[in-house]
């Protein structure tokens, strides 16, 4: 990019920003410019480094290397207060509001130097009316919808007359109508000269809203593009990467009768930031591995809880295990029926951190492995079971009496996965099977899953690691906003198609994308 003499300096420039965390480089020489009055998209999968970058701009984190220029002048941003003084406003994905307090009180709490209450209320009313964001300053927050709550955050940012507004996944909690309204506000702001850095993984939004976009993958800038000249498909490919195809697929499995059948499974969201499951339907056959891809927070956790039985379905027939209606059964009854489950979160969900490995073995396997008799725990058998997991899955631990919290994340993962596999389940639902484990252990877990499928189990893998899904699964579905795409043979799906589904673009023919890319 060649800036002419007369062109004004970009409002914000990042030059070679590097941020390292133990074991990972979150931002690797990231450079980008946000011009005046521009809506700039920042796209990337979860873990691509978007949040880290935003925290650096907002002064929450300090870069290890690199330079931040504000209107062409190098600056350091030691804390969020300094960012606010520069004119950087931030609207977070998850709001930090006090439910029991009124709108005006919440806004006042977020300001460095709040004016008196009634003047602030008047200002809120003015800004809200001015930007078409209806908001009553006197209302208590707990009476407001999620969209209205977001308006509080936006109004709070606008009151400080920002010159750069950062929006982190602002639409993830909004209805389509609220999204339209938000977009209108953002366009108006940009028209007035305010720059906007818009972070999202929803590609349609980026194409609809942004003039320029920066795409992050693995902490690096992989592309800067004009979304109006790209398609959702081409950007999906850039976001996910093209090297995926090189992963070796497992050879075709012999599949038998359906063992897990899900039909019309609905589940309301459990909290304002949760995702509701809508009409989920699929089946997993004996010997088959079905993968579910998707960007984090699109209903994976809810689906896993619905399948495990932590949140029962409305109808028994919504979930069948080996033909038996199981929708209303609890987790232990489903385990007895043959369905075992590895939750995404090991600490405190799949395992109790303060308990020993022996006790953590009892946690989910007490029934299927007969570790309890007449109400009493069979300690000898429980110890033997824990030892069996430790040796079969190469769990590095000083012994079975070590607390789960003393194990590294990868080793605990091996233990939890091993505990479920060694119960010989007919159906195994496993979330993020290799999150945080090293390559060798990941290969061992994959091999164990394939072996279990070979023995006739039906396996459902929910993962954000597309490489893993492409390698393991016979069929693949994508979850987005609580809706599951129909599973299709993995061989028949292109990376682009998967990316489109992950970005929330349903039923789009990928062909025009190819054509557009050639332009």
């Amino acid at each position: 990019m060649d800036l002419g003499e007369s062109a004004p300096a970009p409002r914000l420039s990042l030059r070679g920003i590097v941020k390292r965390f133990p074991g990972v480089v979150a931002n690797d020489a990231v450079s980008l410019d946000v011009r005046q009055g521009e809506i700039h998209g920042l796209i990337g999968e979860n873990g691509a480094g978007k949040s880290t970058l935003v925290k650096i701009i907002d002064g929450v984190l300090q870069p290890d290397e690199g330079e931040i220029l504000w209107q062409g002048r190098p600056v350091t941003i030691p804390d969020p207060r300094a960012a606010r003084r520069l004119g950087i406003g931030m609207v977070f994905q998850h709001f930090s509001l006090f439910e029991a307090m009124s709108v005006v009180e919440n806004v006042a709490l977020g300001l460095d130097d709040p004016p008196p209450r009634n003047r602030l209320a008047a200002e809120i009313r003015d800004v809200a009316a001015d930007y078409g964001l209806p908001l009553d300053p006197a209302r208590d927050v707990h009476t407001l919808s999620v969209g209205e709550r977001q308006r509080i955050e936006i109004v709070r940012a606008l009151l400080q007359k920002p010159r750069l507004l950062i929006m982190d996944e602002p639409t993830s909690v909004l209805t389509p109508q609220e999204v339209e309204r938000l977009f209108a506000t953002l366009r108006r702001l940009a028209g007035e000269g305010c720059s906007i850095l818009y972070i999202s993984h929803k590609l349609q939004e980026i194409t609809a809203l942004c003039e320029r976009a920066t795409i992050l993958r693995g902490g690096k800038v992989v592309a800067a593009c004009d979304p109006r000249r790209e398609t959702a498909g081409s950007m999906a490919q850039m976001m996910i990467g093209a090297e995926l195809r090189t992963v070796a697929r497992r050879s075709g499995a012999v599949v038998g009768a359906p063992r897990l059948v899900v039909e019309g499974l609905d589940l309301p969201a459990s909290d304002p930031h949760g995702v509701a499951l809508k009409g989920i339907g699929f089946e997993v056959r004996a010997g088959e591995i079905v993968g579910i891809a998707g960007v984090a927070g699109n209903g994976q956790g809810e689906l896993e809880q619905a399948l495990a039985g932590e949140r029962p379905a409305a109808r028994p027939e919504a979930i069948r295990i080996d033909g038996r209606p199981a929708g209303r059964l609890g987790p232990d009854e489903r385990r007895a029926a043959g369905l075992c489950c590895v939750p995404e979160e090991r600490n405190g969900h799949g395992a109790v951190p303060g308990f020993t490995l022996v006790e953590n073995g009892i946690l989910s396997a007490h029934h299927r492995r007969g570790l309890v008799g007449g109400g009493l725990i069979r300690l000898r058998k429980a110890r033997a079971f824990a030892a069996e997991i430790v040796s079969a899955f190469d769990v590095r631990t000083p012994g079975v009496d070590a607390a789960a919290s003393s194990l590294s994340g990868g080793n605990l993962q091996k233990f939890v996965v091993g505990r479920e596999i060694l119960q010989g389940p007919g159906v195994l639902v496993v979330s993020q099977p290799t999150w945080g484990v090293d390559a060798g252990a990941a290969a061992a877990i994959h091999a164990a899953l394939i072996r279990l499928a070979g023995e006739g189990a039906a396996i459902l893998v929910i993962s954000q690691d597309l490489d893993e899904l492409l390698m393991l699964s016979d069929r693949l579905a994508v979850i987005n906003g609580g809706v599951l795409s129909p599973p299709r043979p993995t061989d028949a799906m292109s990376v682009e198609e998967i990316g489109l589904l992950m970005g929330g673009v349903h039923g789009v023919d990928p062909a025009p994308a190819e054509a557009a890319h050639g332009v």
Binding site: T76, P331, L376
Partner: protein, 358 residues
């Protein structure tokens, strides 16, 4: 520059069991300072507080007599505390147990049969359970904090008892005193040591402690209680029902408190009076934590707390120490215990806010 509190990475396990001992030691030192500040010779006061009650048979018997309800209630509460069920209304459940058991005894005042006492015990357990069932129901059904409901019901129970002994249960030949008739001999607990007030309730208390130990350590129910308390999400994952644990632990705590209440009226008191317990139900909360929520620890803690009660009375008689000093002393013990707990888990550091290089 500012203070920062951060968790210690790996608090040594030995400290976990050492802190109660340490806390007792610190409390003794602080207590000595307190006594000195009040103008009492610290050495003599501490001697009358902690040593002289243990030198007589009667003193030892009183010690066990007072430790029994504390231990019984303590293990019941500890089961709940382990599951994050905060029943702090054991005092009220004790009172209801005493009322139910006492009314049974008064009803059967003319019956001389060996089944009277067991029936009273059952009635007392049921009474305590019924009182604890109210917070359990409200918690499970409406998510009402059991801390508030169980505590408030304590005062209701106290007033209910007062109403009964001032009214329908008042002994008609009692010269108008607000108390019931004395129970029949068959409604009194058998004595263990002649010449003292020590009764068979102590043996039941010991059995309760051992039984609770077995249940918590070796049964799947105890396992479930611990999982629900330590990791609610893991309990859900395992299929352990949290509402069931709320019911179970509240009923267990209420039942044991009720039993302790019966043992008070069927033991040292022998009738229903307006005030049955010197705050056993509240002191048992201290006992449960001092004993690390472990039944054996609770037994030891109950003996210690009983000693502080008796020692307090002893010191009142021997050196005229005010009664309130005993309460202050007990509060001090809980405070020091919680503080040392905190310091085992966290450390306080002087921290400068980190400034990044430009």
């Amino acid at each position: 520059m500012a203070f920062r509190i951060e968790p210690r990475r790996a608090p040594p396990a030995s400290l976990f069991y050492l802190t109660p001992v340490l806390a007792v030691a610190v409390t003794v030192v602080l207590g000595a300072l307190l006594f000195a500040a009040l103008g009492y010779a610290p050495g003599a006061t501490l001697y009358h507080f902690f040593v002289s009650p243990l030198t007589t048979v009667n003193g030892l018997a009183e010690l066990v007599l007072k430790a029994t309800p504390l231990a019984m209630i303590g293990v019941g509460l500890a089961a709940g505390f382990r599951a994050n069920v905060w029943n702090i209304g054991a005092e009220g459940q004790l009172t209801l147990g005493a009322i139910a058991g006492g009314m049974t005894a008064l009803e059967l005042i003319d019956v001389d049969a060996p089944w009277v006492l067991p029936l009273m015990a059952l009635a007392g357990v049921a009474g305590g359970m019924a009182w604890a069932a109210i917070p359990a129901f409200l918690k499970v059904r409406f998510d009402v904090s059991e801390i508030l409901t169980s505590l408030m019901l304590t005062y209701v129970a106290g007033l209910l008892l007062a109403l009964l002994v001032h009214g329908p249960l008042k002994d008609p030949t009692g010269y108008g005193f607000p108390q019931s008739a004395m129970f029949a001999p068959s409604a009194n607990l058998p004595m263990l040591v002649n010449g003292t007030r020590l009764n068979a309730g102590a043996l039941v208390g010991l059995a309760v402690v051992l039984g609770a130990w077995l249940v918590l350590a070796r049964t799947i129910v105890g396992f479930q209680i611990r999982v629900v308390g330590e990791a609610p999400a893991a309990a859900r994952y395992a299929g352990f029902s949290a509402p069931r644990i709320v019911w179970l632990t509240l009923l267990a705590g209420g039942g044991l408190a009720g039993l302790a209440g019966v043992f008070e009226v069927a033991g040292p008191i022998g009738q229903l009076v307006p005030s049955i317990s010197p705050g056993y139900g509240f002191t048992a909360i201290i006992v449960a934590f001092l004993g690390r929520l472990h039944p054996v620890g609770i037994l030891l803690a109950a003996l210690l707390m009983a000693l502080s009660y008796i020692g307090g009375e002893n010191a009142q008689v021997a050196v005229n120490l005010p009664r309130a000093a005993t309460g202050v002393f007990q509060g001090l013990l809980l405070f020091v215990l919680l503080a040392s707990d905190f310091l085992v888990r966290y450390r306080i550091r002087l921290a400068r806010p980190a400034r990044a290089a430009p």
